[in-house]
Amino acid sequence: MSDRALAANAVFDAEAAQARRRWLTSRIVIYAILVVFAVVYLAPLVVVVLNSFRDLPEINHNGLIAWPRSFSLDYWVQAWSTYCVGGTCAGVQRNFYNSLAMTIPATIISTVLGAMNGYVLSKWKFRGSEFLFTCMLLGVFVPGQLSLMPWAFLLGKLHLANSVYGLILIHCVQGVSFTTLFCRNFYVNIPDDLIKAARIDGAGFWRIFWKVIVPISPPILIVTVIWQFTGIWNEFLFGVIFTSGTQQPITAALVALGAGGLSVHAYNVSSAAVLIGAFPPLLVYFLGGKYFVRGLTQGAIK
């Protein structure tokens, strides 16, 4: 019998109809709630995006939250290359590059170190390795503010204060507990037999790492890279405290933008600068977000 014939023969089923109505109601409620939250979260972003194209008199006249009546890309150009931040009038591009110069090496170094740590702590356990891992885990829970003074002291001694290199060092050290945690938990699920087989095959510590472990690591490496990149890029406290002027990463510079001491606050340029600063982590998340969720939830290859 075809489906259509079946449908024609179907008797009205009150129970089924009620179940269907209930399902529909619950869907509507769920979507309504989701829409409300989406609006709440997205509204500020929309305001900032719109303001980055509006001219200043219009903003001052109609207020920050209003439908745009003017449109110009000028403020983006100004924010990028000519606007005066902390005494230099070269926009935020310098700070943007500072952020890149800090975030990329710090992300790579902390991820590589985390992968190696995880490999050792899961596959080459030694007396006290669990204790060591617990100690490293503490870094995950200790707030960064707590280490401000020690860092200030250390950077001074190393002559790395007010430099991107100092920030790279800080973020590598601060990030290693996270990357180690991620990688170790991923590697723990890789069967030990794989390592044993490789050892019998004649591979040593490093060959096993590069040829066996790293090739199965992309899911967790993507997670750590996204985590580290967004975390380091968005980090503000260390940047604002240990650097100034031309050495500042973009997050710190954005504050200077608001507190520039100018009589008029250029909301449109600030908005554009904020968006420029928010762009790289967004890009990284869009490119790798799919793997991020998958990597956090999945175990290793069985």
């Binding site: 044993k196 087989a197 050892r199 019998i200 095959d201 004649g202 040593g204």
Partner: protein
């Protein structure tokens, strides 16, 4: 010359004694099965031979080399794991090449080895696949291939068939046996499956609680188990144990057991051998040595003793029918031809083939 000699080997994990003085030796080309229930230490023993576990005390010799502190890669061994342990990101070819590359085998020799082994195992069409694209049986084959390209002194197998389904397991078992015949390498094979041990091995080491209970040829282990553990472990259904007492009947020794109808006397096959009358023993009889009694049986087989027992349960398996019968306080299992199987509730007169019966000491559990 023996390929592997293990002398008085012990292993402790903290306070736990896992192996308590293991002695073992494998002659050139032998297939040794280490069999025992889980936790008996057989896998630990294998891991120590492979060099993956340290030695607490004792000696391991591979060939004429003491290898106690030699790294796994330098022991000239190859190992097949229960989980196959294939490198998931590499193709079958790369899996087999990995070890040779690590050891710096010349390129031409690598290719030659791959060709030889993949031909032998019929995995040539799979060479460019990844392990994830292979079935269980194919992975098993590749795992063996990875071991074979090495051409080692010693092959180690750690429960290689446990992850396969029943049918495939039997097929692969046959294949491993053929392969061993063809390659002729000394092999140590760990399994918890006594059938695998019986079918494959030239000698079986039955392990229990960190000790080798018996180390002998399969048929000897089956026919003359050294103690009640071995007797119970090897064979399915396992050997029946019936409490009995030795008595002297006109100069020959017999055993008396508590049967369904009071005390029954069963003459021992080699009853002439003098034994201390009055001693308590355990009579061990395998299920296939119980028959429905007929006068012809008496004529065919020497040493038949008779006994009547009520049948409590019948389990047909197709090829043969198992019957559970009661003798005194113990239940015994018999293996019968389906055409001649006892029925439930029947009082069957059993003919027991006493020539294959074993006697054990109840206190030491050893074979008498």
């Amino acid at each position: 010359m023996s390929s592997l000699t293990v002398r008085n080997l012990t292993k402790n994990f903290g306070m736990v004694e896992v192996l308590k003085g293991i002695d073992l030796e494998a002659r050139q080309g032998e297939f040794i099965a280490l069999v025992g229930p889980s936790g008996c230490g057989k896998s630990t023993l294998l891991a120590m031979v492979a060099g993956l576990e340290t030695v607490t005390s004792g000696e391991i010799w591979i060939g004429d080399r003491l290898v106690n502190s030699v790294a796994p890669k330098d022991r000239d061994i190859a190992m097949v794991f229960q989980s196959y342990a294939l490198y998931p990101t590499m193709t079958v070819r790369q899996n087999m090449l990995f070890g040779m590359e690590a050891r710096g085998v010349p390129k031409a020799q690598q290719l030659e080895a791959i060709e030889r082994v993949s031909g032998l195992l019929q995995i040539t069409p799979l060479l460019n696949r990844k392990p994830g694209q292979l079935s269980g049986g194919q992975r098993q084959r590749v795992a063996m291939g990875r071991a074979l390209v090495r051409d080692p002194v010693l092959f180690l197998f750690d429960e290689p068939l446990s992850n396969l389904d029943a049918k495939l397991r039997v097929e692969m078992r046959t294949e491993i046996k053929k392969l061993h015949h063809r390659v002729g390498k000394t092999t140590i094979y760990v399994t918890h499956d006594q059938v695998e041990a019986m079918t494959l091995a030239s000698r079986i080491a039955v392990m229990h609680q960190g000790q080798v209970q018996q180390f002998d040829e399969p048929q000897a282990v089956y026919d003359r188990p050294a103690n009640m553990f071995v007797a119970g472990f090897m064979g399915s259904p396992s050997m029946n144990f019936i409490p009995a007492q030795l008595v002297d009947v006109g100069g020959t020794t017999a055993v008396v057991i508590n049967g369904a109808k009071g005390r029954e006397t069963l003459a021992l096959y080699n009853g002439a051998a003098q034994r201390a009358a009055g001693k308590d023993v355990i009579l061990g009889v395998r299920p296939e040595h119980l028959f429905r009694y007929t006068p012809e049986l008496q004529a065919q087989k020497p040493g038949i003793a008779t006994l009547t027992a009520p049948v409590e349960l019948v389990e047909p398996t197709g090829a043969e029918t198992m019957a559970v019968m009661r003798i005194g306080d113990s239940e015994i299992v018999g293996r019968f031809d389906p055409d001649d199987a006892p029925r439930m509730g029947e009082d069957i007169t059993l003919g027991i083939d006493m020539s294959h019966a074993c006697l054990f000491d109840p206190s030491s559990q050893r074979l008498i």
